[in-house]
């Protein structure tokens, strides 16, 4: 049976279609103000790619900030469980998931069956989020996708210590004014973000095998910086787009649900 997971995040909406544990198609788009619109559109995108329509999909599970607003889902699951499930499916040996999305960062410890043991959100004063990087990318006039590469070219060590997104922006601008290299500033930003997120993971005790999910995981600079700060190498997700892990987890829940329903029949 074909199942779907739909992850309506604060910044992006994601959909994954799956069959027998394999991904058929996926889609990502910028979220709109109304979550329901984003959900409809991103689902359409994914189904178009797979050449399917809604009737072909047996069960849909929603997740993410906007999950309650999605009309076509059969049930909803929290992002925490979905990211855990998705990451565990891709890499069963994983015991900790660090998920950095647009709005928050979470560290989650999971057991050998993919169930959540403990999790923690970022604290109130929060610069450890994708939003932080976006604001900075804008201020530096660098596309988000390039941040990782640019940061890798850094030669001088700078520090950005302000926890507040808005004030960190000022700090960045004054570094620009001092004539500092963009690559060094970006490197410093990645370090700053990594430190915030690392303390989150450390607070619940870091496990052996850690993966990173959510959009920010695509940023190789952050990926590397977190590895360094934690003192262990984060594991790759074997080709799977980390931003889609939440939606994938939701699809896996949908699969379980569908299977249970079939059994009941």
């Amino acid at each position: 049976m074909i199942v779907a997971g739909c992850d309506i995040g604060s910044l992006t909406a994601k959909a994954v279609l799956m069959e027998h544990g394999k991904v058929l198609a996926d889609a990502v788009m910028r979220a709109k103000t109304r979550p329901s619109e984003s959900a409809d559109e991103v689902m359409q995108m994914a189904m178009q790619k797979a050449g399917l329509n809604m009737d072909d999909v047996g069960c849909v599970v929603g997740t993410g900030y906007g999950r309650e607003q999605v009309s076509f889902v059969d049930s909803v699951e929290s992002e925490i469980s979905c990211h855990a499930k998705g990451a565990w499916h891709v890499r069963p040996s994983v015991r900790m998931v660090i998920d950095i999305g647009g709005q928050d960062a979470k560290a989650t410890r999971i057991d050998k069956n993919g169930n959540v043991v403990r999790y923690l959100y970022n604290d109130k004063c929060a610069s450890g989020t994708g939003r932080f990087l976006e604001v900075m990318a804008e201020a530096l006039e660098i596309p988000l996708e390039k941040m990782g590469d640019v940061g890798a070219r850094s030669t001088e060590k700078l520090t950005i210590s302000n926890q507040c997104v808005i004030f960190a922006e000022t700090e960045v601008i004054s570094l620009v004014n001092e004539g500092k290299e963009t690559s060094d500033i970006i490197h410093a930003l990645h370090q700053a973000l990594a430190k915030r997120v690392a303390s989150l993971a450390k607070s619940i005790e870091v496990a052996e095998e850690v993966v990173m999910t959510g959009g920010v995981a695509k940023n190789s600079g952050v990926f590397q910086a977190i590895s360094e700060t934690l003192g262990i190498q984060l594991k790759p997700l074997d080709g799977m787009d980390p931003q889609l892990i939440g939606a994938m987890g939701a699809a896996l829940y949908a699969q379980e649900k569908a299977a249970a329903a079939q059994e009941a029949v």
């Binding site: 929290s78 925490i80 469980s81 169930n115 403990r118 923690l120 959100y121 604290d123 109130k124």
Partner: protein, 466 residues
């Protein structure tokens, strides 16, 4: 502060509303409806208290009395003492002083007023308290700074050594309003002889201070009477707590707050004894038929709150417990530690007894009792030392058979926020799923109830609890 708020005296307004609400239940339906019209914002809350039956009504009456005492104290020639929660007011009653518990006033204002205590809290900041200081005192104190209350005569608190923000708020008030001030100070350990002596010495100094303020000597006979009443209350609480351990618990979430709100306002008073008797009776009735105290009648989960156990406006938090069939096992604030209670047995030196045989023994009793009230008892020293926060939490969680734990505080609470991450880590190791709430128990603006609720639901779902 909004200028229109300055047109009302804060305590007069609160007193009037509570007075009206407490009398609603006596009226005919027509009269009730009419009264509600005068307290439109308070209507919902009043209804839910009254809906809770005679206990709810008794709570309203208690608060009505509390305000009446404050408003008429000076007419009656009594002095008013500003004080804090976790301070036993019994000594005030023994010395014929009218106490004000600032935190309770803030919490009550939040429950009663639709806009909560925001304006007063902000006024506290305008007066000079840091915005990051604890909202629990800042709310009511703001009203006092603005001069919207019956003036206080002196200040007494017991938080130096325990909580800076709290002690500091009262020290600030003393300077700001130019009032005499005495603060009990607690060492970091509890239970050893040296600390016990210190408690007594400090308490004696406190009594001398109050004697000087009132011009009256402490009357030991009166103190004896009050303490005997405290003893009676303690026995009732012990009964209630015993029943609270049963599954399902016969108590509703609201009973917890009644228990400690009463203790922080009317300890040693007959009114409080009556309230406790009512709670005990109703619980007994439910126990007999094995009924749950929850509205849904069905207990699915037991939660113990490791610090503050309520949440700002509208009684949202308790109602949520009720609606989700979650039994509220109380919090650090609502349990008490007199001798021979099951959960104190594992914790050496943490309980107190009341001995009224001589002035010296009474002094000792009341000083040791005060030193064992919630905050001053277990968050005074390192959380992982014997009988401090961790051990106490584990003992209570075990005794009340909690399934999971929740931390709730205020961003102003340096004391607990400085070590709650460590605490939770240890509690998880002991097998308790534990959730940290990021809200402010007194200020909705820090995190809205919508967000708080979502995080709570997520916790129960993700950890497989509900």
């Amino acid at each position: 502060m909004r200028p229109e708020m300055r047109e009302y005296n804060y305590d007069w307004l609160m007193g009037s509303m509570l007075h009206a609400a407490s009398r609603v239940s006596n009226g005919t339906p027509k009269e009730t409806e009419l009264t509600y019209r005068y307290i439109p914002y308070f209507k919902n809350v009043a209804q839910s208290f009254i809906g809770a039956g005679e206990i709810g009504i008794q709570i309203l009456k208690l608060f009505d009395r509390y305000y009446e005492n404050i408003l008429t104290a000076h007419e009656r020639g009594q002095k008013i003492a500003a004080s804090t929660f976790c301070f036993s007011p019994s000594i005030f009653y023994a010395m014929d002083i009218v106490p004000i518990c600032m935190e309770l006033l803030t919490a009550l204002g939040n429950i009663v007023w639709r806009r909560g205590m925001f304006d007063y809290m902000d006024y506290g900041v305008e007066a000079g308290l840091p915005e990051t200081s604890c909202s629990s005192q800042r709310g009511a104190l703001g009203a006092y700074f603005a001069g919207l209350c019956e003036p206080i005569d002196f200040i007494v608190c017991d938080t130096p050594g325990v909580c800076d923000t709290n002690a500091n708020a009262f020290a600030f008030t003393a300077t700001f309003l130019d009032k005499p001030y005495y603060a009990l100070n607690y060492p970091q350990v509890l239970g050893d002889d040296r600390s016990q002596n210190y408690h007594v010495e400090d308490y004696k100094e406190l009594v001398r201070f109050m004697e000087a303020q009132t011009g009256n000597k402490l009357d030991y006979d009166r103190l004896g009477e009050v303490l005997q009443e405290v003893e009676k209350q303690d026995a009732l609480i012990a009964d209630i707590e015993d029943m609270h351990t049963l599954k399902p618990t016969p108590l509703a979430p609201i009973h917890n707050i009644a228990l400690y709100a009463g203790k922080f306002t009317f300890s040693g008073n007959k009114e409080y004894t009556r309230l406790l008797e009512m709670i005990a009776d109703s619980a007994k009735k439910r126990v007999k038929i094995g009924a749950s105290g929850l509205k849904t009648g069905d207990e699915k989960l037991r939660v113990y709150m490791i610090y503050i156990d309520h949440y700002t406006l509208d009684m949202n938090f308790w109602n949520w417990f009720d609606e989700n069939s979650v039994a509220h096992m109380g919090g650090m604030l609502s349990h008490h530690f007199r001798d021979n209670i099951e959960y104190t047995e594992a914790l050496e030196g943490i309980s107190y007894g009341v001995d009224t045989s001589s002035p010296e023994s009474m002094f000792n009793s009341i000083a040791q009792m005060n030193a064992r009230l919630p905050m001053v008892r277990s968050i005074r020293g390192p959380y992982d030392q014997p009988n401090m926060w961790l051990e106490e939490t584990l003992a209570l969680a075990k005794n009340f058979r909690a399934d999971c734990l929740i931390y709730n505080g205020t961003p102003g609470c340096r004391n607990t926020w400085a070590n709650v991450k460590l605490m939770v880590r240890d509690l998880e190791k002991h097998g308790y799923p534990t959730h940290i709430m990021n809200d402010d128990a007194f200020d909705d603006r820090v995190e809205s109830w919508v967000a708080t609720r979502e995080r709570l639901e997520e916790f129960f779902q993700v950890r497989g609890l509900l």
